[in-house]
Amino acid sequence: MTIILKIILFIVLAPFLSGLISKIKNNLRLRKGQSIFQPYYNLAKLFSKAEVVSEHASWIFGVTPFIVISSALTAALFINSISGLLLLIFVFALGRFFLALAALDAGSSFGGMGASREMFISSLVEPAFCLVIFSLFLQSGSTNLTVASIVSGIALFLITVAETSRVPVDNQETHLELTMVHEAMVLEYSGRSLALLELASYIKQMILVILVARIIFPVTMPVFAGIIIVAAVVALLEVSVAKMRLFRVADFLGVAFVLGIIAVVCAILGV
C-alpha cells in the first residue's frame, strides 16, 4: 500500500518540481514568468487533445510512451538502496532505448538527430553514474557527511544535468532544430502520448534530484529543503551558462567521470 502511495506521490509532485525550477529561472532573469503550476496545466491540456501520428510510424511509436513511463515509475521504486541505484542505470536504459527507436520511427531527420545525440550522451553518462554508485557502495553503512559523499554528489549533479536535458548539455526550452536533443526525439509526439512522455521525464528528473539531495546534504536535513536547494542550483546553472556544443559534452561528462574516480578514491581512503 505504501508503495502505491509513494508512486502516486511521485506522479503528483514531479511536475511541481519542473514548475519550481522554471519559476526560479524566470525570477533570476527578473521576469514574472509562468505559474508554478504550469506543468500541470500543460499535462491537462495534452491529455485532452487528439493525437497526430506519422504515416510512416509503426507499432514501436505507439507502445513507446507506455514503456517509457513504466520504466520511470519502476525506477522510482528502487531509490532506497544502493543496489537499487545500480538497477536505475538499466531501467532508465530501457525507456531511453524505446524513445530513441520511436524517434527514428517517423523517418524525420530531427528524430534521427535526437536519437543519435541522446544515445551518445547517455552512453557517456553511464560510466560516471556507475562510479558514483560504486563510491556510495564502498561508503555504505556510514551516514556521515564525508568528502567522498560530497564529491559523488557533485558528480551525480552533473549527471542529473545531462540526463534531464538541462543547459549546458541540452535545452528544454528550445525548438531550434540544430540544438535540441530530447525535444527532437519527442517532436513527432502529440496529445496524450506526449503527456505521458512529459510526465515520465518529470518523474525521472524528480528521482535524480532527490538522489543528489540525499547524497550531498546531511540526513538530518529534511528532504524537501534539499530538493529545493538542488532545484535552485539547477535553475542558477541554466540561466548563467550557455549551451555547449555537442562534442564538448564529452568533456563535461569527462569531468563527471573524473569526479567519480575521486569519489571512489576518497571512499577508499575513508575521508
Binding site: 510512416h56 521504486l77 528502487f78 543519435s116 553514474f129 557502495f137 571512489v264
Partner: protein, 611 residues
C-alpha cells in the same frame, strides 16, 4: 604411447555438459533455419554439402568440449577450425569469402601453434596426456613455467575467442559464412575457446598468480570497448554483429578473469559467483547472438543486401523478423527484464561485492572495470538502436527494402525457438544460477556445499518493501503492470482516434527516404568522440556550376583499423621483406640444395652429440 592416448578419451563433467547444452540449443534452431535459408540460394548439391559440413562442424565442437585428453582435444579443435574454414569460403562466388577465409585460417593456425606450445610443455612435465593426471602433476610445476604455459594458452585460446588485438579475423570470417553458420560460429564456436581457458587454466593449471586474473581483466575491458566501438561504426549488419561478438566475449572474460583473480587471492565465494556471471553471459550471448544472426540472415535473404544504409521500413514488410530482432537487440543491450540484463547485472555485482573484500588500489581497479562495463553497456544500446532503427524503421531507403517479403516458415521457426529461449533464460534466473553454481564449483574445485545463492542472502538485490526482494519475473511483472496502468489512464482520457498525417517536414513538401538519418550519421558523435581510437578520415568535394550553385556534393568517410595498421601490417610487411631476402637462398641449383641438406645433417649430428 598408444595406451596413453586411449586412456580417458572422453570427459563428461558438469562443465562439459554445460557447453554441450550451449552447442545444442544454438545448433538445433540454426539447422532448422538453414532448411529455408539454403533453399533457392544454392544448387541442390551444394545444399547437401552444406548440411554435411554443418553436421561435422557441430560434431567436432561437441567432441572438443568432451575430449578427455590433450591429443583428442587438439585433433577435434583442428577439425573444427578446418570445417569452419570451409564454411567461411562456402560462398565461393565472392572474392571476399576467399580473402576472409585466408585471414581466418592463418590466424586460427597461429592460435593453434601457441596452444601446441603450451600443451607440449605440459606434456613434458606430466609425461601423460589425459586431463586428470596433468591436473595432479600441475601442482608440482614451478611457477615460472606455469606463467609461460598460461601466456601461451591465453594467446592460443584468445585468438579463437577474438580477444583484442587477436580479433582481426572475426569481423571478416563470421559475416562471410551463410547466416546459420555465422550464428553457430559467433554463438558457439568462439565459446569453445572460453571452454578451453576455463578447462586448462582454471581447472587443470590452477590459478595462483594474481596477475593472471588482472591481465585477463585488462584484456577483457579493452576487448569490450574496442569491439563495441567498431560495431557502432559498422554499416554491414552481419559485421556489426560480429564486432558485437568481440564485445560480448570481453564481457564473458570479465567474469572469467574476475573469477581467476578471486581464486588467486583465495576468495572462494566470489570466485564461484564471478564464474557464474561469466558462464551465464556465455549462454545468454550464445542465444541472443544466434538469434540476431538468424534475423540478419532473414533480412539478407529478403532484400539481398547486408548494408543497412540501403534498408529501412522492414518492420512493415517483415513484422515477425522485426519482432525477433527487437527482442534480441533488447537482450544484447542488457535491458531489463531480459537475459542479457541479468548476466550483466551479475557481472557488475561481482565487481561491487569483490571490491568490499580487497584493499586499496585494487578497489579502484575493480571500480574502473565496472565503469568500463557500464560504458560498454551504454554503447551497446546505442549500437543496437542504430542496427534496429535504421534497418527496420522509417521508410525503405532502396528498392531492395521496398520489395522485401517475410521469410519462410522454417526460418521463422528457428528464430522463434531462440526468442523463446531469451525469455526463458531471463525468467528462470534463479534456477539457472543454481545450476551454474555446480558447473562453477567443478571448474574451480571449490566446494559450494555451504554457500547459498538464494536471492537475499548472497546476491545483492534491491529491496522493494520489507522482505520483498527483486527477482527477474517480479521486475518483468512490475514493468508490465505499470505499462498497463499507463495504458488504462491513456484510454480513459477519451477514445478519439489518432489522426494519421505526414511526418513534420518544416514546410518542405517532399520528405522522403533520402531525408532520413543514416547509419553513418547516427554514429557520427561517437566517431568524433572516439576519434583518437578510430582515426576517422573524411573527404568532401563540391562540384559547382557557379559560385552560388553547387551541382553535386560527395562525402567520403572511413575509419582506420588501428590494430591492423599498427600491428598486423608492419608484421606482414616484415614477413614479406624477409621472404624476399630468403629467396636468394633458393636460386634453383640442385647442387646448392644438396649442400644445404649436407650442412643440416652435420649440424644435427653435432647437436645430438652435444646434448
Amino acid at each position: 604411447m598408444a595406451n596413453l592416448l586411449l586412456k580417458q578419451l572422453f570427459l563428461f563433467d558438469p562443465l562439459s555438459i554445460f557447453f554441450l547444452i550451449v552447442i545444442g540449443i544454438v545448433s538445433l534452431p540454426s539447422a532448422i533455419y538453414s532448411i529455408g535459408y539454403m533453399r533457392g540460394e544454392y544448387k541442390r548439391g551444394k545444399c547437401i554439402l552444406a548440411a554435411a559440413l554443418l553436421i561435422v562442424f557441430v560434431f567436432s565442437m561437441c567432441m572438443v568440449v568432451t575430449a578427455g585428453n590433450i591429443f583428442s582435444f587438439l585433433v577435434f579443435w583442428e577439425i573444427m577450425s578446418l570445417v569452419s574454414y570451409f564454411l567461411v569460403i562456402f560462398d565461393t562466388k565472392h572474392v571476399k569469402s576467399v580473402q576472409a577465409g585466408l585471414i581466418y585460417i592463418v590466424m586460427t593456425h597461429i592460435g593453434t601453434a601457441f596452444l601446441i606450445g603450451g600443451f607440449m610443455i605440459l606434456y613434458k612435465h606430466a609425461n601423460c596426456l589425459d586431463f586428470f593426471t596433468i591436473k595432479n602433476i600441475c601442482q608440482t610445476i614451478p611457477f615460472q613455467t606455469k606463467n609461460i604455459i598460461f601466456l601461451l594458452l591465453l594467446v592460443g585460446f584468445g585468438t579463437k575467442a577474438g580477444i583484442v588485438p587477436l580479433h582481426i579475423w572475426l569481423p571478416y570470417a563470421h559475416p562471410q559464412a551463410p547466416s546459420h553458420i555465422s550464428s553457430i560460429m559467433s554463438g558457439v564456436m568462439i565459446k569453445t575457446a572460453i571452454y578451453g581457458l576455463i578447462r586448462f587454466v582454471i581447472f587443470i593449471l590452477g590459478v595462483n598468480q594474481t596477475w593472471w586474473g588482472s591481465l585477463v581483466l585488462v584484456l577483457a575491458t579493452i576487448t569490450c570497448l574496442a569491439g563495441i566501438i567498431y560495431a557502432l561504426m559498422e554499416r554491414d549488419l552481419k559485421r556489426l554483429l560480429a564486432y558485437s561478438s568481440v564485445e560480448n566475449i570481453g564481457i564473458i572474460l570479465l567474469g572469467v578473469g574476475l573469477s581467476m583473480f578471486f581464486i588467486s587471492i583465495n576468495k572462494p565465494y566470489l570466485a564461484v559467483f564471478s564464474l557464474i556471471a561469466g558462464l551465464y553471459h556465455l549462454i545468454n550471448h550464445a542465444v541472443f547472438k544466434g538469434l540476431l544472426f538468424l534475423c540478419a540472415g532473414s533480412v539478407y535473404k529478403a532484400t539481398g543486401t547486408r548494408d543497412i544504409e540501403k534498408l529501412g521500413g522492414l518492420i512493415k514488410k517483415m513484422p515477425q523478423t522485426a519482432a525477433y530482432f527487437l527482442l534480441g537487440a533488447m537482450a544484447i543491450s542488457a535491458l531489463p527484464p531480459l537475459n542479457g540484463f541479468i548476466s550483466e547485472w551479475l557481472t557488475l555485482q561481482a565487481f561491487f561485492l569483490g571490491a568490499l573484500d580487497v584493499t586499496g588500489g585494487t578497489k579502484l581497479f575493480l571500480g574502473l572495470c565496472a565503469a568500463m562495463l557500464a560504458l560498454t553497456g551504454g554503447l551497446a544500446a546505442a549500437c543496437f538502436v542504430k542496427a534496429f532503427g535504421i534497418t527496420f524503421l522509417a521508410q525503405p531507403r532502396s528498392h531492395y527494402a521496398k520489395e522485401a517479403k517475410e521469410v519462410s516458415f522454417s526460418m521463422k521457426a528457428g528464430m522463434f525457438f531462440l526468442s523463446a529461449l531469451v525469455v526463458i533464460l531471463a525468467l528462470n534466473a534463479l534456477k539457472i544460477i543454481k545450476l551454474l553454481a555446480k558447473v562453477a564449483s567443478v571448474s574451480t574445485g571449490i566446494d559450494i556445499g555451504n554457500m547459498s545463492f538464494s536471492l537475499n542472502n548472497f546476491i545483492l538485490t534491491p529491496q522493494i518493501a520489507n522482505n520483498v526482494y527483486l527477482s527477474a519475473p517480479l521486475l518483468a511483472a512490475i514493468l508490465i503492470i505499470f505499462a498497463i496502468v499507463a495504458y488504462a489512464v491513456y484510454m480513459s482520457f477519451g477514445r478519439q482516434k489518432a489522426v494519421v498525417y505526414k511526418t513534420w517536414d518544416c514546410g518542405y513538401y517532399k520528405l522522403d527516404a533520402r531525408n532520413e538519418y543514416t547509419s553513418t550519421a547516427f554514429s557520427k558523435p561517437f566517431r568524433i568522440a572516439f576519434s583518437f581510437f578510430l582515426q576517422p578520415y573524411r573527404k568532401t568535394q563540391k562540384i559547382r556550376e557557379s559560385f552560388y550553385h553547387v551541382k553535386s556534393f560527395t562525402y567520403e568517410t572511413h575509419t582506420t583499423q588501428v590494430f591492423k595498421k599498427y600491428i598486423y601490417d608492419p608484421v606482414l610487411a616484415l614477413v614479406l621483406k624477409s621472404a624476399k631476402a630468403m629467396r636468394r637462398m633458393q636460386p634453383g641449383s640442385i647442387h646448392l640444395y644438396l649442400g644445404y641438406i649436407f650442412i643440416t645433417l652435420l649440424l644435427l649430428i653435432v647437436f645430438m652429440r652435444k646434448f
